[in-house]
């Protein structure tokens, strides 16, 4: 039996107090989101006459409306995020594996040269980065988002994967080598299958980062053809004006993609969030 928590028995006053306080805190935290979902199902009349409470009938047409308005943004976001994650995974597997497994001249310099970029937040380089991609004629393309996301996102991936690959028992690779497996087959058949959870963490961190990115796409894209959801939300918000049901339906939809990801990989997600924080 766990003796450490003996003083607080179930039913004990202190325990109940803790729980009540916890519930209050969580309720306050969730209030804006509960309100968002509730209001997203109302029409204007219901909104003004029943501010605090849900009202029937539920107006799901708010959702069809905002899906119609935001479908293109969502598609662009999905595309940019998917391509970025694939690139980040590929790059960080390659660099992480090489840095962890092999010794070559310049290894330390290159490795720490990569890590150094974690200290320089992208926001501080917003202006020169913008001028630079303008000169590269990348403005208003998918690439203006994808390429910098991959370049920057691989760093944390390289760091996590180098640590992981470095801890794999050498004998595994030696055995593969005896069987005649070269670099690529060792990577593909030995390292990658073991690294699946770490790859998952890297993918989730990248998904959070790219999906939520706002300032960079705000300054580098203005055409609706490539506009992502975060920037599109601004336009959508001003378009619907005071039609709050439609506005909140849009907001709710913006949370669905990451929400689905979260449902399918809850534990990985929570692990990913904290290991991402460790990069500081």
């Amino acid at each position: 039996m766990n003796t450490t928590k003996k003083t607080i028995r179930p039913g004990h006053a202190a325990d109940i107090l803790w729980r009540v306080a916890l519930c209050v805190l969580l309720f306050l935290m969730f209030f804006p989101f509960l309100f968002m979902v509730m209001t997203s199902l109302k029409d204007t009349h219901q909104f003004y006459h029943s501010f605090w409470m849900p009202r029937w009938p539920l107006h799901f047409e708010n959702y069809t409306y905002s899906l119609g308005q935001m479908g293109a943004y969502i598609w662009n976001s999905l595309l940019v995020t998917a391509v970025s994650i694939s690139g980040i995974l590929t790059f960080s597997v390659i660099t992480g594996f090489l840095f962890a497994r092999y010794d070559f001249p310049g290894r330390e310099v290159l490795y720490y040269g990569m890590l150094a970029m974690m200290m320089v937040p992208g926001a501080l380089m917003l202006v020169p980065s913008f001028m630079w991609v303008d000169r590269l004629h990348l403005l208003d393309t998918y690439w203006v988002m994808i390429l910098p996301y991959i370049a920057g996102g691989q760093v944390i991936g390289c760091y996590l994967l180098r640590g992981f690959f470095g801890e794999i028992d050498n004998e595994l690779f030696e055995a593969a080598q005896v069987d005649g497996a070269g670099l690529f087959r060792q990577l593909w058949h030995v390292a990658l299958p073991l690294a699946r959870p770490v790859l998952g963490v890297v993918a989730i961190l990248s998904a959070l980062g790219t999906w939520n990115e706002f300032l960079w796409p705000l300054v580098t894209t203005s055409s609706e053809d490539v506009m992502v959801l975060t920037v599109g939300m601004l336009r959508y918000t001003s378009r619907v004006g005071t039609l709050y049901g439609k506005m909140f339906a849009g907001y709710t939809i913006s949370a669905i993609p990451l929400g689905i990801l979260f449902i399918f990989c809850t534990r990985l997600f929570m692990k990913g969030i904290t290991s991402g924080a460790l990069k500081a």
Partner: protein, 308 residues
């Protein structure tokens, strides 16, 4: 000597040829050079130039920095950042700690897990949307106004974001009750890493709940707290998305201006890119100095749960 020998041994064991290694690294590291190092170098260089939209680009030495030193808007933005930073530092280090303690004290494993999941859930909503929600909360048609009206406090109702007296406070309260998921999970990880023997010893010594928190928990999660201090500081100094969404230009009367937003405005609205680079450089230098100072202040020797 030693390393060279091990180098040779690895090579002899059938390591791939050097050219292959470098060939594989070219694209990843090249992309980093192009999209991170070039802009960083450009920022460093252009901080000392007058860089205008036409491309005119003259070296002006320290003039940007001297101008910043006398720029009332920039100085005001520093003051705002200090106020906002102090507030958000305090709340984002304490509320998640209290929340983590609450979850840690839950007896049921399942409830503990559910609570941790719940704390993370709001992260599904993009930050921009959260800020838009808060903009709405403060608006005339929002819950704050409605609540005050329902309580009969009509006199209190006003434009929280447009009144210079309350604008900064309204920005500070975005995210209330500040139960940030990442912070809470990091604290929780620290608490969960404390060896049960230590907790038992504390109890045998007759420490009450408060005593255990103050004298056992807090000293043992200093490492996590340090990490959070750095994360929070980086977030505060870089973060101007909230201000951009809520007041757009740091108004009213620059009451909500922060250095990040001022940098953005100089770069993209006033077309003063060199000046913007100078602001960015100052922010970066501040963050580096802060991180180094903190590392020196809180040494990572002694018990380190993060190292296990």
């Amino acid at each position: 000597m030693n390393s060279r020998r091990s180098n040779k041994r690895k090579r002899a064991a059938g390591a791939p040829p050097l050219w292959l290694i470098y060939a594989l690294l070219v694209v990843p590291i090249g992309s980093l050079l192009v999209f991170r190092y070039v802009p960083a170098a450009s920022a460093l260089f252009h901080a000392f130039t007058a860089w205008d939209v036409g491309g005119a680009n003259t070296f002006v030495g320290l003039r940007n920095f001297i101008e910043l030193y006398r720029d009332p808007v920039f100085l005001q933005s520093l003051g705002n950042l200090a106020k906002l930073g102090f507030f958000s530092f305090t709340v984002s280090l304490t509320v998640p700690f209290i929340l983590a303690e609450m979850i840690f004290h839950l007896k049921s494993e399942r409830w503990g897990f559910l609570c941790r999941v719940a704390v993370v859930l709001p992260m599904m909503v993009p930050g921009v949307v959260v800020f838009m929600l808060w903009k709405y909360i403060y608006s005339d048609a929002g819950p704050l106004t409605e609540l005050l009206t329902n309580l009969g406090l009509d006199d209190w109702v006003h434009g929280w974001l447009s009144d210079p007296k309350t604008a900064l406070l309204a920005i500070a309260f975005v995210g209330f009750p500040f139960a940030y998921g990442v912070h809470t999970l990091i604290y929780y990880a620290g608490l969960a890493n404390i060896p049960p023997s230590v907790l038992e010893a504390a109890e045998l010594d007759g420490l009450g709940a408060m005593g255990r928190i103050l004298r056992v928990h807090i000293p043992l999660i200093l490492q996590q707290a340090k990490l959070l201090v750095v994360i929070t500081m980086i977030g505060i100094v870089n973060g101007f998305e909230s201000v951009y969404i809520l007041t757009l230009d740091g108004g009213p009367y620059n009451e909500t201006m922060v250095p990040g937003l001022y940098m953005y405005l100089n770069g993209f609205s006033y077309q003063r890119m060199g000046y913007a680079c100078a602001i960015g450089l100052l922010m970066l230098l501040f963050l580096l100095a802060f991180t180094m100072g903190l590392n020196r202040l809180v040494r990572s020797d002694g018990y380190d749960p993060a190292a296990r």
